[in-house]
Amino acid sequence: MKPSPQSPAVKVSGLSFTYQDAHTPALNDINIQIPRGSYTLLLGGSSSGKTTLLWSLARVVPEFHPGEIAGKIEILGEHNTSRSPQEMAPYLGLIMQDFASQLFSSEVATEVAFLPENLGLPYEELARRVAEALQMVGLSHLVGRDPQTLSGGERQRLAIASVLSGEAPILVFDEAKSDLDPAGRRQIDELCGRLCRGGNTIISAEVEVEEGAEADLAILLSEGRIVAKGSPKEVFANPDELIRCGIRPLDVTLLADEGGVPPQTVEEALQYLKERDIHPHPKAPAPKSAKPEGEEIASLEGVSFTYPRSDAGISDIDLSVRRGEFIALVGANGSGKTTLVKQLNRLLTPQQGNVYVGGRPTSEYDDAELASMVGYLFQDPDHQIFHERVKEEVGFGLRNLKLSEEETTSRTREVLELMELSELGEEDPYSLNKGQRQRLALASVLAMHPQLLILDEPTTGLDYLEVRRLMSAVEEMNRRGITVIAITHAMWLVARYAHRVAVISGGNKAFDGTPEELFADEELLSSQMLSRPQIVELSLRLGRYCPTVEEFRRTFTWKGAER
């Protein structure tokens, strides 16, 4: 392959692709042109075709995942048709979403060296590339470490370095930030910016839009077709379309008049609203009492836990959980959030301190009894699904509780209805999409009628529509009195759903209070690398606290507010 210096980095003409055995095309008549040295944001919800499009550039489809392909793809001016994914490696680097399974070496340096070693480069060149790639992602100090001993964020950066070392002019990120905390995301964004300024072409697939996105081009995909294409400002300006495509829009774009040009940053929104004479609504409802004051349902007293041969864990943590509360746990990757909640259902037992559920120490419960008190939804539903039918999967926990068949059937029907999965009861769980599988996993936990529900990053990898469906079911259960503890990096979820938030940092509790108190504490937010959702930032600038756009509309009024 001889790249032509004048041609665009990527040119796709009339591309369609249908996976083998699929009935509908994953991509349908895609036409795009991406200039060299540009930064392109590829947006789309689940099954929108983002990954397939990126794979087609790298020849993963149809070489690795066969199917019927039509149309033309030019990479640096050359058709990629006769290339294998291996042959594309020097020109196009692909960073996949599931970074954990991309790492296989026993040392950071050898992991990064793998790609250039495959290119047959001399030792001096290998050493230079490894050193530079590690420096770019800030991992130079970990050169001799075993990748398995790194934190999630470090491993993600290592996965990126292992592709950067190929020095391909085009870099493709497939939802590479989805597992990262806000600080990790920021680091990747900065890295992409640096790479772009250094002449690389960046294509990044995302399920979220961010304020001030530095991209040159944004492409919105839905059901394998391009729905919108243009500058981020142009594409973000249509929040309804973004929502339809499974993308959460920028909060402030939802404040514009029907047909008007919406603001996209907090500053623009302030200007926009001031021009329209914004003022507090005369009939604004009084702020609701944020915290349910039920009896204590669970507590941790001076709990410490350290993993064997490790410094990671939690130290001397106290936490009191009241019935009906919705508590969000936030903090950096590896800060101890999961370690903390696993104490509550005895998946981990504290080395120091006591854990109580329902007023009794957890050690006094048998496994099934504790599981019926404390439900736990794991981040990846595939860690638990094993039955051949959706219904049977939901009934698994109920059979462990030794409930009658009648009761099992009745509860199964009830939760499938709540999760909008009733029609899929006879289906194979593995035939469902990720969002449906996550709801199925939640259904199987809720069927056990837990009093306390723990959600461990439940929305990772889901698009906005799926997140809303999942969270509205959780909200409904919370309204019915189930206490919820949710681990999340999404601050908008904290603002929207939580009564209370705890910030975990380095295995300690750095903050415990209401979301309003957290978002008012500039110093804490900055030290914990947390940020306010746009609508919270905007409302605080206007002297009130509004966790959602709906609340903002109830609190303020302005000309043209009736959207």
């Binding site: 790298a58 993963v60 070489e63 690795f64 294998s84 994914p85 291996q86 042959e87 594309m88 490696a89 020097p90 680097g93 692909l94 996949m96 599931d98 954990a100 399974s101 991309q102 296989f104 070496s105 026993s106 340096a109 060296a113 793998f114 495959n118 047959g120 480069l121 001399p122 030792y123 290998l126 050493a127 490894v130 075993d146 398995q148 001993t149 292992s162 592709v163 190929g166 041969r309 490790s310 410094d311 998946l347 496994d367 099934a368 009894e369 599981a371 019926s372 439900g375 736990y376 794991f378 595939d382 860690h383 638990q384 699904i385 094993f386 698994f396 926990g397 462990n400 199987s444 936990v445």
Partner: protein, 259 residues
Amino acid sequence: MEERQSPSPLHHLHPSTKVLCLLLFLVWAMVFNHPLYLLAITALVVIINLIGGSFRRALSFWKFYLVIACAAVLLWSLFLDEPGPGYNILGRHIATSAILYGIGMGLRLISLILFAVVFSSTTPVEAFTYGLRRLGLPYRVGFSLSLAFRLVPSVYQTAKMVESAQQARGHNPRKGGPLRRIFGFVPLMIPTILYTLRSANNLSLALECKGFGLKRKRTSLARYRIGWGDILTLALFIVGLSASIWLRLKEYGAVIDRL
């Protein structure tokens, strides 16, 4: 984060030396079947573990060694039909030579496991691949083989995660009678296998996209040199194995005339 071990003299040996020593040891452990001789070989591997800094790790499997030893003695004593002096248990003649042979086999298996522990503790997966390649094995074969070893811990991690997820739904596979326990592992095995297959698929995709197998002549960041330590180690293994074969030919070191 995981405890880091300071490199021992064995870490510095050339990978090809270590792979050759592994092959030589596989033969060496087969030469004798007398428990005393195999005890000496086991003691030698214990010393190698001490030098390699992996003794504590090797010792952590002591329950496993005990099971192997008991199973070996029991199986060979019962099923090896040998004449000669012995004991009559429940109407069945159990020869002393069969019991000794069983003890010997237990020691042979333990010594092999101990050697595997020190080898895996002192040889990174990339060094193993390099060593195999230098000994003439095609890169793809060597890489696949070493990758299989590397994936063992990640499969274990997946299995632990799956166990936690099922435990959170009140499932405990370690409860009940033997049959219930066997069926109790189904909810753990299916997600573990499917998750592992998915991860393996992602890994192979990542390998292809990183140019795996692109060039016939692949280069390496790792640089290994054959030193005096390698020559000495190989010489010790060759001399030890030759002497053992000579002893066996002179009819030493066997309770029964078989491997």
